[in-house]
Amino acid sequence: MIATGNGPLYAYAAEFDDPTALVNAARAVRQAGYKRFEAYSPYPVRELDEIIPGWNPIAPLVLFGGIAGAVTAWIMQSWIAIVDFPINVGGRPLYSWPSFVPITFELTVLVASLAAFFGTWGVAGLPLPHHPVFNLKEFARASNDRFFLCIEARDYRFNREKTAELLEEFEPLQLWEIGKD
């Protein structure tokens, strides 16, 4: 165990060089009843989805955005064409709805995409320039070829000896102690 960072303990981090070890360790940590733990990997590891569940409201957000865009577009076009700026083109009806379809489609896609993009960052809590895991210098390799499993000290099951023992079982390359500051 090597300590990095200052201040009170933030988490224990186990460093792996292989996704299999990461997933096995994460599964064991979950079975041991921990709640506040997170796995960091340089690419999405889908096997973690069930082990580390998280709130993922992107799909409903996109649906909501799409509906909002469509309704806005339709109301905007109808109101402008009928009430705000009616133009009589050869006696054709002012509510010429088939020609409103393309813009309605475009705004549906636009608002839904904005919802997906900003929803992702909103739910993820990003941008966040600093995070305690960055106190660990070696964490730079989490965006390259290393995999980290962090168990936060605020987890009610966290125990300096037992948590370290649990992580040691999976033979991490290194076990780190990350300080909050």
Partner: protein, 467 residues
């Protein structure tokens, strides 16, 4: 033996149905990251970059001068007059936006179809989309006459109490192109954030650390974040797929809604979409072939990619050839004198050279792609791609000029002769594209690193590294 060494020694399972690999040669997570980030962070910028950047910059300066003169004198500096009231500007617009479509096809449609090979070309193809759409968007504004009030195209509460006419396809175009540009940008940036974090974590200077630190938004690769990222990417891909088809459909509506013979045709939307993807893949190859050579990326952008892109070009080219055949047929079948006159005028009229050049560049020469040698040898493929890209510009020119210059009344017939400013703005817009693209290659990861890592056989738990 370290894990990285074991990763390098892991055998690849051959994929069914092809002898060409997506990643050639041994790779580990580390070597992939190193290879792609080093282009930005450590390797010296190649001479090729400086030379092409210089040429691009010269063209861009010409563009700025031409546009300044255009704004000073007005659209009269172009060769346009009645009845050919839009010529180069609209041709360039359609050409550029069509080029952009291949990027979205690669990044969105091939993602939904689970085509793993796209992972090494999607990032720079998307960048190509953004810069192409940027160039495209300029042309309608340059052609406005009073470009400083371009925002009148958008509905907003104003004291003049005037609003856009929503029955006009030109207004649809404003929404289609601006939505396309925005969604492409969001999709591109969302996909790039994890790779920007890789750059941040490997940056050597304080400035680079700060720059990539800010634009990577503090990404740390948490599994919960990856999940959100993946859902959002898939949904954006799902949204971009109908969007890309709609954009060129709306562009084709600019023509089909008019009653002009040669334009007023229901075949235009699929015709335009196929042509867009055709020219876009040609541009992807024109960019990929020198890039892989100059930056030694032959192991990541392999012959497999060239071959696949060539096949897509061949397929869309055949759709286009079919449309070229069916157009005169429908004119004849309709029995409409004016429609038949347009076909006749295209084949033997004053602009007939555009018609025959289009057929040569888009139909005859690309048939070489039936031969494997022409699909897999970079130099030959580069040649065919250039021919196609040129042919697609000529095609749009033909559609626009030959229909406009002879409409229903012979008394209003005229001809179109391009002015030097037409040409300088077209060449200048290519300069703008080249400069933007080269800056992207220099400062951003041009290949998606995290998606490439996923292609390695040991990236899945239990997947193949022997202890």
């Amino acid at each position: 033996m370290s894990v990285a060494d074991r990763q390098l020694r892991t055998p690849r399972r051959p994929e069914p149905g092809t002898s060409l690999p997506v990643i050639a040669g041994p790779e580990s997570f580390g070597t992939l990251t190193e290879q792609i980030t080093s282009v930005v962070l450590t390797r010296p910028t190649p001479l090729f970059w400086y030379i092409t950047f210089g040429i691009g910059m010269a063209a861009l300066i010409m563009f700025i001068i031409s546009v300044t003169y255009l704004f000073y004198r007005g659209v009269g500096v172009f060769g346009v007059e009645i009845p050919v009231a839009w010529a180069f500007a609209i041709t360039n617009f359609v050409w550029w936006i069509g080029i952009g479509h291949a990027g979205t096809l690669i990044s969105a449609i091939l993602l939904l179809l689970n085509q793993g090979w796209r992972n090494s070309i999607n990032r720079f193809a998307e960048a190509m989309t953004i810069f192409a759409v940027m160039c495209a968007g300029l042309f309608p504004i340059l052609h406005l006459g009073r470009p400083w009030i371009f925002y009148w195209l958008l509905p907003y509460p104003n004291t003049m109490h005037v609003q856009p006419q929503f029955r006009s396809p030109l207004v649809w175009d404003v929404f289609a192109v601006s939505t396309y540009a925005t969604v492409s940008l969001l999709f591109w940036y969302l996909g790039m954030v994890p790779d920007l974090a890789s750059l941040r974590d490997r940056s050597k200077t304080r400035f680079a650390y700060g720059f990539y630190g800010i634009i990577s938004l503090g990404w740390r690769g948490a599994s919960r974040h990856w999940r959100l990222h993946e859902t959002a990417s898939l949904l954006l891909a799902g949204l971009a797929t109908p969007l890309v088809l709609s954009v060129h459909t709306v562009v084709s509506f600019d023509f089909t809604i008019a009653i002009l013979p040669g334009w007023h045709s229901t075949i235009f939307p699929p015709y335009f979409v196929a042509g867009a993807i055709y020219s876009g893949f040609a541009m992807v190859l024109i960019l990929a072939i020198p890039l892989r050579k100059v930056y030694h990326l032959e192991n990541l952008v392999t012959v497999r990619h060239l071959n696949n892109c060539a096949k897509v070009m061949l397929a869309t080219g055949l759709i286009l050839a079919y449309t070229y055949a069916i157009e005169p047929f429908t004119s004849w079948w309709s029995g409409d004198t004016f429609e038949m006159a347009v076909v006749h005028n295209r084949a033997v009229g004053p602009h007939s050279w555009t018609f025959w050049l289009t057929l040569t560049c888009n139909v005859f020469i690309p048939q070489l792609l039936w031969f494997r040698k022409w699909r897999t040898e970079p130099k030959r493929l580069f040649f065919v791609s250039c021919v196609i890209l040129y042919g697609m510009w000529i095609e749009r020119y033909m559609i626009i000029i030959t229909s406009l210059h002879r409409d229903f009344l012979p008394s209003s017939w005229s001809n179109f002769i391009a002015s030097p400013w037409d040409v300088s703005i077209l060449v200048g817009s290519i300069g703008l594209f080249v400069v933007c693209f080269l800056l992207f290659v220099r400062f951003f990861p041009m290949i998606s690193i995290f998606e490439m890592r996923e292609l390695l056989p040991f990236s899945r738990p239990g997947g193949g590294v022997e202890k």
